[in-house]
Amino acid sequence: MGRFKKSGSKETPGINTGSMSDIVFMFLFFFMVITKIRQGELFVRISAPPATEVQKLERKNLVSYVYIGVPIKSNLYGVEPRIQLNDQFATSQDIAEFIANERAARDEADRQFLTTSMKVDKKVKMGVVTDVKQELRKVGAFKINYSTKKGKVTD
């Protein structure tokens, strides 16, 4: 009955790495799917104010972003809050053209669903925001979304 004789040394076998690439690929695809690469660089510092009654921003491809905040390179551009559209600084007069471009880039059927997301720093005074809102009203972009983060408001 020597057939089931144990071989002398009892070494633990190494981990089989054959399926590692499968697992890594799975991760890779997962991250590729959930990733959205931010187009354009942010020139202004934005820290969103907290709010509790938040809604998710649906249909990301129908959202145009307006950033308002203090420039990150404040030694170059000053400390006054500035508006950023696409990847350059702008003034409130440029909003009309910006919205027109955003509309032109979308399907005709989708244009009415175009939302403007206002990403504004919490320290910014409402004056600048009001100017932008007035410009948006003039060009008929009525759907807006004040970008906030989830958090407690009152104490």
Partner: protein
């Protein structure tokens, strides 16, 4: 191959940001037509909220507090004691809900150019919370569910009974810039 995919994996790990965009959705009013007179509004139906350049609140002519704003706004709309100073109610027949005493009230929110954005969002948030709470209560009472869990037609009915009546007044520069 595993090495290459590891590299790619690291790349996507770096560039991906998981945060979803959250925010308060609002609809701006169209520009006022100078030829059309605004319709007359009964003063008791307007809940005036002012925020000045020093982030102080004035609610209905008195110094307000952000912590009680939600309660005050709800009280204004629901008007449980039928006070003549709070909003009027009109009995309306709403599908799926039946006769409901719909408030005619409107919140008028006015801010100064010097108001901070954070304060403005706080006020907007509290007013939205008041409306959401009232909707939840009505939905709970009629359908036994929260407003967000209702089916589409029911939630439309509730939204009809309690609309988002927040009007942003034309901007003014009253408090001067700080």
């Amino acid at each position: 191959m595993a090495d290459i995919s590891f590299l790619l994996l690291c790349f996507f790990l770096m560039v991906s940001n998981m945060d979803t965009d959250l925010g308060l959705a609002r609809k701006l009013p169209p520009m006022p037509d100078p030829t059309v007179q605004p319709p007359p509004v009964n003063e008791r139906n307007v809940f005036v909220v002012l925020v000045n350049a020093y982030d102080m609140l004035m609610v209905e002519g008195k110094v307000g507090n952000i912590n009680t704003l939600r309660k005050d706004a709800k009280n204004f709309f629901l008007n449980p004691s039928n006070s003549p100073n709070l909003s009027e109610k009109k009995l309306e027949n709403i599908p799926f809900i039946g006769p409901y005493e719909k408030s005619k009230g409107v919140i008028s929110l006015q801010n100064d150019r010097g108001t901070s954005y954070e304060m403005y969002i706080k006020v907007q948030n509290e007013l939205a919370a008041a409306i959401n709470e009232m909707r939840d209560e009505l939905a709970m009472q009629k359908f036994g569910k929260k407003f967000s869990d209702l089916s589409e037609e029911y939630s439309k009915a509730v939204a009809k009974a309690i609309p988002v009546a927040i009007s942003e007044a034309e901007p003014k520069d009253v408090g001067g810039t700080k």
